[in-house]
Symmetry: C2
Subunit: 511 residues, 2 copies
């Protein structure tokens, strides 16, 4: 038995203090989920992990019973009680109306950080990138995954990308804390702030603000397209990568596949209250029930869980035994024929688990031995992840009104709007521009610009002398009232605000 509080520094003794068992919530999931969970729990138990699993139902059956979120209300109670979730992959049924359970869990429980180690196991697992060893820290709650979509006209659909300062601060700080705790040397930030200067610009700016607090860690920034290209060709030059949700989704799958097998990677989803651990692969219904699935991804997810709940010694023990198992060529069917040294027959899920169990206490011979240490109890509480700043002085200076109109020209539309903007009172609005899909089409539009039935009409507040003025909410309502009186089909609005005097809106393209 290993004392999990000593972080693997001290040897085991005959009669160590009996550690307290940690309750965790477990979901067996769909497809191959039950098989790999069984195999994983068997290894955890044999290694001496001190756990009290509570089992909940999630996924396909819950969806099909009419729950569009894929999780029953009672299950939330378990997650909130244990605050630790070991989760097998699930299947989301085909067809409309089902929300992604993973997204819901992550967001409802505030799991802001998705942590994905991507490691090559060359020469045992075939890969073109033998020296990969990087960790992707993906923002996990916001971006386009807020799932706020509206069909706006016959032709146009919209999804909102939301990026927040607390979201950026939390994930960037987590990435640097992770780097420090795991002795990583560099954090690379990836954004698309050459195009999304406000949203991605905020992420980059927060990265620049926080990196100075970690002078011992190198930092760099890439535009995501270049960064992803470098990652796909020279992964060995990366260490920790922190990025926005969508980019992280894409590059973490790229990196995982580049290691040679997506079946070997686990991931953690970290929140301030709750954390979730899982394999990165899906539920693979085609091989479900055959007992042949590779439990490695979930097992390595469970290793991350053990570190999280301060059973680092057990985590190290399992991870090292697993590395040795791979070195010994004990391969499930998915890895057979890959790389070197496979023992001839494919191992089933439980056989593989038994092989890992046999090697508990052994270290790898070629790979570096893993040695996790429990983080100081106080680290997470030393500094709040986010402190809300005093509000800026916000002033409304205008409003973008979006209009649904097919088969009109920008000039025709502008003609109507210019008049309406100034009624019924002298201190009204001025139509500054109209764009279509972001491109300015009035004033001074080009006939080549293809126009959909979706027009963004920018009104700026002006006084009777046509000078800019501050706008009230009532002014906006009055303007909308005017547009409605004239029969215009407005479909959405976006206030134009300045914050401490700085414009909080982008120019139109061509403006």
């Amino acid at each position: 038995m290993i004392n999990q509080h000593t972080g693997g520094i001290f040897q085991t003794s005959e009669n160590p203090p009996m550690p307290q068992k940690t309750p965790i919530t477990v979901a067996y999931g769909d497809g191959i989920g039950p098989e790999i969970m069984q195999a994983t729990l068997k290894v955890l138990e044999a290694a001496g992990a001190q756990l009290v699993p509570e089992v909940i139902e999630i996924g396909e059956q819950v969806y099909l019973s009419g729950n569009t979120a894929g999780i029953a209300p009672a299950s939330w109670a378990s997650l909130r009680r244990t605050k630790v979730f070991l989760k097998s992959p699930i299947t989301t049924p085909q067809g409309g109306g089902y929300k992604s359970l993973n997204v819901t869990i992550r967001k409802t429980l505030g799991l802001y950080a998705n942590v994905r180690p991507c490691v090559s196991y060359h020469p045992f697992v075939a890969t073109k990138h033998p020296t990969m060893d990087l960790v992707i820290v993906r923002e996990n709650e916001e971006d386009l995954y807020a799932g706020i979509e509206h069909r706006q006209t016959d032709e146009v659909y919209q999804c909102l990308k939301l990026i927040t300062r607390p979201g950026c601060e939390k994930i960037v700080r987590y990435a640097f804390e992770y780097a420090r705790a795991h002795d990583r040397k560099k954090v690379t930030c990836m954004t698309k702030d050459n195009i999304m200067k406000m949203c991605d610009g905020l992420f980059h700016k927060v990265f620049d603000e926080i990196k100075v607090e970690y002078p011992e860690i190198d930092s760099e920034h890439y535009i995501i397209d270049i960064g992803a290209a470098r990652l796909a060709t020279r992964p060995e030059r990366f260490d920790v990568i922190v990025t926005l949700n969508l980019y992280g989704d894409i590059i973490s799958d790229i990196a995982a596949e580049m290691t040679g097998s997506v079946g070997l990677a686990g991931s953690a989803n970290i929140g301030e209250h709750v954390a979730m651990f899982e394999a990165i692969h899906g539920s693979a219904p085609d091989i479900a029930g055959k007992g042949i699935a590779n439990p490695s991804g979930l097992l390595l997810g469970a290793v991350m869980m053990l570190v999280h709940i301060r059973q680092s010694a057990v985590a190290s023990k399992i991870h090292n035994a697993w590395l040795r198992t791979i070195e010994d060529g004990v391969f499930t069917a998915d890895l057979l024929g890959q790389g070197q040294a496979a023992i001839g027959r494919p191992f089933g899920s439980m056989d593989f688990a038994d092989a890992v169990i046999e090697r508990l206490g052994q270290n790898p011979k070629k790979f570096k031995t893993v040695s996790y240490e429990d983080a100081p109890q106080t680290r997470e509480t030393q500094r709040p992840l986010y402190v809300r700043a005093a509000p800026a002085k916000k002033e409304i200076v205008g409003v973008d009104v979006f209009v649904h109109a097919a088969d009109v020209t920008a000039d025709f539309l502008a003609g109507r709007l210019v008049t309406l903007a100034h009624q019924p009172r002298p201190a009204g609005f001025k139509l500054q521009m109209i764009t279509n899909r972001g491109v300015k089409v009035w004033p001074g539009g080009f006939p080549e610009t293809f126009c959909t039935d979706h027009w963004r009409c920018r009104f700026l507040g002006v006084d009777s002398a046509d000078a800019p003025r501050s706008v009230t909410h009532s002014d906006v309502v009055d303007l909308l009232h005017n547009l409605v009186s004239d029969g215009l089909d407005f479909i959405k609005t976006e206030h134009l605000c300045s914050f401490d005097g700085e414009a909080g809106y982008a120019l139109g393209q061509g403006q």
Copy 2:
């Protein structure tokens, strides 16, 4: 001299009919732009391309002169006149307020398709992917690149992702037409429609609608993260890939870098009226003015231009001579030390051009000889790219109102809104839910959900018996009026509409 109307099928004769010269607009750009343009134009001339170049100024100097779009009004006239643009890379100055010129040009001129061939030149250029030969057709006008960003609260920034039916139809049809014209066997669509069911769902749906018109071409769909991972590991399994703007941006850079050199790729930006051709690399200011830059990217972009303007025989002649030049180990400094067979010394930009010119008329020995053919004159006009359908029956059923409020709870906010929704008239609205970053926080929110100062409040129209009712624009204005009277800081609205009875809005996460 080659007759450019015969598409390379017939041999040259001593006195072919003198082809008409085609006016093109040329921009020398910034950084290494002038050097590579000079080298490229020298090759074009020597190969007998029939061109009348008109030179325009774009880029850094134009930006710095105070033009936030980076292009002077007079330059647009040239582009509209010639409809063909050969463009060197430009530099966008650091600092706020400058719009991406490439985005502006693409969108203003409706260049809806970005076409990027990604080809390996193994063993002459080192690559881990020796048999890559794919083409990425990237939607070029919409998505998050509409550049519509608003700072909404102290903490929250927003960018609009807009996807349109005409945009999807045009790019998908282009991809299949391209595949047919270039004898490609398969078109792969990549979207993220498991998350963005409406926006990316539309793209996927349009792909499924159009693919049946091309039964001789295989088709498949990948979720972008999986697709990008496959591309990064097994590029040889792709042929033509069609995808949305942002994904295309990322994967086209990945694919280009995987070929071994981003200095060898050109790209086309195709519109209904105008087309632009360029290298995929940037202006590389660090090596500007030294005469050492590799002109290959721009030269291969020019080859695509020649095919576009129906000088396919010249295009083939240049492309084959260029392939032979690479095979002969004539390398600019960027490729030196790469792959096999480099002649010892690095060639300068103009030396390299001269080496290509020396080989005009020769074919490659190892690579496949290229043989472009002029497309039938009528293809583009055979079928309109997009025909607007009859409008659906649109009904407003409610409105999402976004509220800026720091340091309040969802319950507190809901308490105020529930009352306001029903005033001043019995046929009003009902507050259905509140979300924060897309996650439902009322009714039935969880304390673990981290809340920013940005609340989406969904109001559904109800009659006096609380049954759903159709809403008018005036009803929305009245509701906003109520909210304003109560001092609520609403920042934006999104109408909830049904189209032919189908809901045009997504559920909240956890709803």
